[in-house]
């Protein structure tokens, strides 16, 4: 018998992963949660049938969404993480001793429960004393916060599901308000390749770019996401992702990584021409990309 997990990356494109076993299946109040055991990608977490992470390539995502802002901001102490119930982002953040507080807001407690059980490596630092987990709607949580975070990491699902509210103008606005005067917001920005994704990416980039004075996009190669090609948004009140990048300081921390490097930090902001054009189409004042 052949068992395959398939996901549409576009209406006419399907990505399939061979499955050994279906380990977990649960319909929570918000979404369908599944975990598969696969020969190539190890354990795979899907929400509503969309791949969220695989054991094999999650390091790319979790490192790039975490270390890029951490190598720019000189003194991150308080971090807010939205979504990310698997714990991968928290695991990367917990490697920094300078951080004193990590608030994780995840709407679905069942995701955390499933990941603690089946993805223990990702969830390994969720019990760190600095981590506080809140099961709440992110908009509801953040709009009560004012100037109290140095870094907000938005690790949500795609903009067509239950996390749609995390790609909106009001969301970026309340995040701006929750950040200190030199705060940074990093979010997963989707893929620019397939048309449907590219349009959603443009919409959210436009909203971020009108909310924050500095808004740049960087990229990474993630095999199990649409087109294997993924973007992150770096939005900031004060720090520029390259001009304020403190390479020496980050190197002095001696963190071992598998994807992120100080050279890649800069390179990830160099974008292909078609993507530059997509971004410029929605920016009021185009960024200097020379």
């Amino acid at each position: 018998m052949e068992l395959w997990f398939s996901e549409f990356h576009a209406p006419d494109v399907k990505h399939s992963i061979r499955v050994d076993r279906h380990l977990y299946s649960h319909k929570s109040d918000y979404q369908q949660i599944d975990i598969y055991e696969t020969p190539e990608f190890g354990r795979v977490l899907t929400l509503d049938g969309n791949v969220m992470l695989t054991e094999r390539d999650e390091f790319i995502y979790d490192e790039m969404i975490t270390h890029v802002p951490m190598a720019v901001h000189p003194n991150v102490q308080d971090v807010l993480v939205i979504g990310a119930g698997d714990g991968g982002v928290v695991r990367e953040l917990a490697r920094y001793d300078s951080i004193r507080c990590i608030d994780l807001v995840e709407m679905d407690d069942q995701v955390v429960k499933a990941c603690r059980m089946y993805l223990p490596e990702n969830a390994s630092r969720l019990d760190d004393a600095r981590v506080h987990i809140y099961f709440d709607n992110a908009l509801r949580f953040i709009r009560r916060c004012h100037a109290q975070y140095d870094l907000i990491i938005v690790d949500s699902t795609d903009p067509f599901g239950p996390s749609e509210g995390h790609f909106t103008r009001e969301f970026y606005g309340i995040c701006y308000n929750a950040l200190r005067d030199d705060g940074i917001l990093v979010n997963q920005q989707g893929s620019p390749f397939y048309r449907h994704d590219a349009e959603a990416m443009q919409r959210s980039h436009k909203r971020i770019a009108t909310t924050f004075p500095i808004s740049r996009v960087y990229q990474a190669h993630i095999p199990t996401y649409a087109a294997g090609y993924w973007l992150f948004g770096f939005a900031s009140k004060k720090y520029h992702p390259i001009d304020h990048f403190n390479k020496e300081k980050w190197l002095s921390l001696n963190l071992k990584t598998n994807y992120y490097t100080v050279r890649l930090h800069v390179g990830a902001f160099y974008l292909p021409a078609f993507l530059e054009r997509l971004l410029e189409e929605v920016e009021d004042k185009p960024c200097d990309r020379t």
Partner: protein, 485 residues
């Protein structure tokens, strides 16, 4: 609790059966189950265009229902506690007009509050009845018209004992209810009919702890917008009648203006929605109320906004309040309601029902989810942070007492002339001016134009209200009666 089996949906069932029979169409509509209009079919779907069919024996006929439409009407009457229910396909406008036309003849007087929907005054244009306006109370802080006080209705009835009917909004757009039961009793004692415009009150028939519904209060007619809070398709509606009204007479009146090609999409949506409400309405509307209550708490916690609720109830002009309505006063953040309405749409992709001078209304209904409410509340918090002003230059909305000079019908058909707004003071208007939504006329045909009204129109235009009603699309000119009255 119901006499009939509310699990049934006879029109829905007949259409399903009809689909299976694969009848060959040599009748209208000419698209023939969508085959003749592939673009339309691709857009709306085969399921949808396949039941866009004509009246025929197995599917009954809306003009003279004797089988499945008749059964659907009886089920609806049972669900709403009415003597009879008419399925309507011309919007609640057609329900309102039918109930006015069924009770008023030319020259008859009808007692009603001035904050009625334009469809009511349009009905007066059609039938030639004379409005006797009961001035609604006004809440001076919120700047909104409230319900009619019992004493004022009593006075109007005493002054106009020859009136034939009393019309009541149950509730107003903002969710405010008059003491309907008392007004029904007063009207009946005076030998008048009581008509209820329940465009915003479908859920009163199904939810718990709701304001009293017109049929429960003993009213003779109720126009119920099933497509608003009830979940049916836009343009579908119900006209309900009580036991003292002759069904055949009302049917005749409806058939004066209603199409002979009633849409089965609309009728089946009424049938399916009625079933859903009868079976699940209680639970659904209790969720809607808790979402609205939650949103009110959260919005009031932002500061500046006032999301008002049942605390307004005063036993008379606010006899009851519809807790599903999320009405928010915005003037204290220094923005007109219409400005907040535009910001929500333009900046946050959130479309709410309407904004007027001092308030906005977000319509909550059976399709809402908590996640979207969080967006609305957060967007309101952001609008306050980014756009609030000290409020100087904001106008307070006040009720302008209309001077009815001649009947709406006489004014509508009189010789008229178009003049610039500024030159119209003191003249008698021959057309409507209103912000839409909410569609409550600022001026109706036959009313005197005053400086206060013109100030209001100019202010509403400047703030971005969508003004409608006049022949001049820019509302720079207005039609007035040629001869001074």
């Amino acid at each position: 609790m119901y006499k009939l089996d509310q699990n049934q949906a006879p029109i829905h069932q007949a259409l399903q059966k009809f689909r299976q029979m694969r009848v060959v169409p040599f009748d209208v509509p000419g698209h023939k189950r969508g085959r003749g209009n592939p673009e339309l079919t691709a857009f709306l779907g085969e399921q949808c265009v396949g039941i866009d069919v004509n009246s025929m024996k197995p599917l009954d006929n809306l003009c003279h229902p004797i089988s499945v439409i008749r059964q659907a009407e009886e089920l609806a009457a049972d669900a709403f506690g009415a003597a009879h229910a008419f399925l309507m396909v011309g919007g609640t406008t057609s329900s309102v007009q039918s109930m006015v036309l069924a009770t008023c003849k030319p020259g008859d007087k009808i007692i009603l509050p001035r904050n009625v929907h334009r469809s009511v005054i349009n009905a007066l244009v059609l039938c030639g009845a004379i409005p006797v306006y009961v001035n609604p109370e006004v809440d001076s802080r919120l700047g909104i018209s409230l319900g009619m006080k019992r004493e004022q209705v009593e006075k109007a009835i005493a002054q106009h004992p020859d009136a034939v009917a009393v019309l009541v909004n149950n509730p107003t757009y903002y969710g405010i209810c008059s003491d309907l039961k008392a007004i029904v009793d007063m009207a009946h004692q005076a030998g008048m009919y009581c008509l209820a415009d329940e465009a915003h009150g479908t859920h009163f028939y199904f939810g718990e702890n709701m304001p009293i519904s017109a049929m429960a209060a003993g009213a003779d007619f109720a126009s119920v917008s099933m497509h608003k809070s009830g979940g049916s398709l836009t343009q579908s509606s119900l006209l309900l009648i009580g036991p003292n009204v002759q069904e055949g007479h009302v049917r005749k009146i409806i058939n004066l203006t209603q199409t002979t090609s009633g849409s089965y999409l609309l009728m089946s949506s009424l049938d399916i929605s009625r079933r859903n409400l009868a079976l699940r309405g209680k639970k659904v509307f209790s969720q809607v109320v808790s979402m609205a209550e939650y949103a009110r708490e959260e919005i009031n916690a932002i500061g500046g906004y006032y999301a008002f609720g049942r605390e307004l109830i005063n036993g008379d002009s606010i006899f009851d309040f519809d807790a599903t309505k999320l009405s928010i006063h915005t003037r204290d953040i220094g923005l007109a309601g219409i400005e907040v309405y535009d910001l929500l749409r333009d900046e946050y992709d959130i479309q709410i029902e309407f904004g007027d001078i001092g308030n906005i209304l977000a319509y909550l209904s059976i399709g809402d989810r908590p996640a979207e409410l969080e967006r609305l509340v957060s967007a309101l918090a952001e609008i306050r942070r980014r756009y609030q002003t000290d409020g100087s230059g904001l106008m307070n909305q006040e009720y302008i007492d209309p001077e009815v000079v001649i009947s709406p019908q006489d004014a509508f058909y009189a010789e008229k002339v178009s003049v610039p707004l500024d030159e119209s003071v003191g003249k008698v208007c021959s057309e409507f001016v209103m912000c839409y939504p909410p569609g409550i006329p600022i001026l109706a045909p036959g009313e005197r134009i005053t400086p206060a009204i013109l100030d209001y129109i100019r202010y509403a235009k400047a703030k971005g209200c969508s003004m409608t009603g006049t022949e001049d699309p820019d509302i720079a000119h207005i039609n007035i009666l040629q001869e001074d009255v």
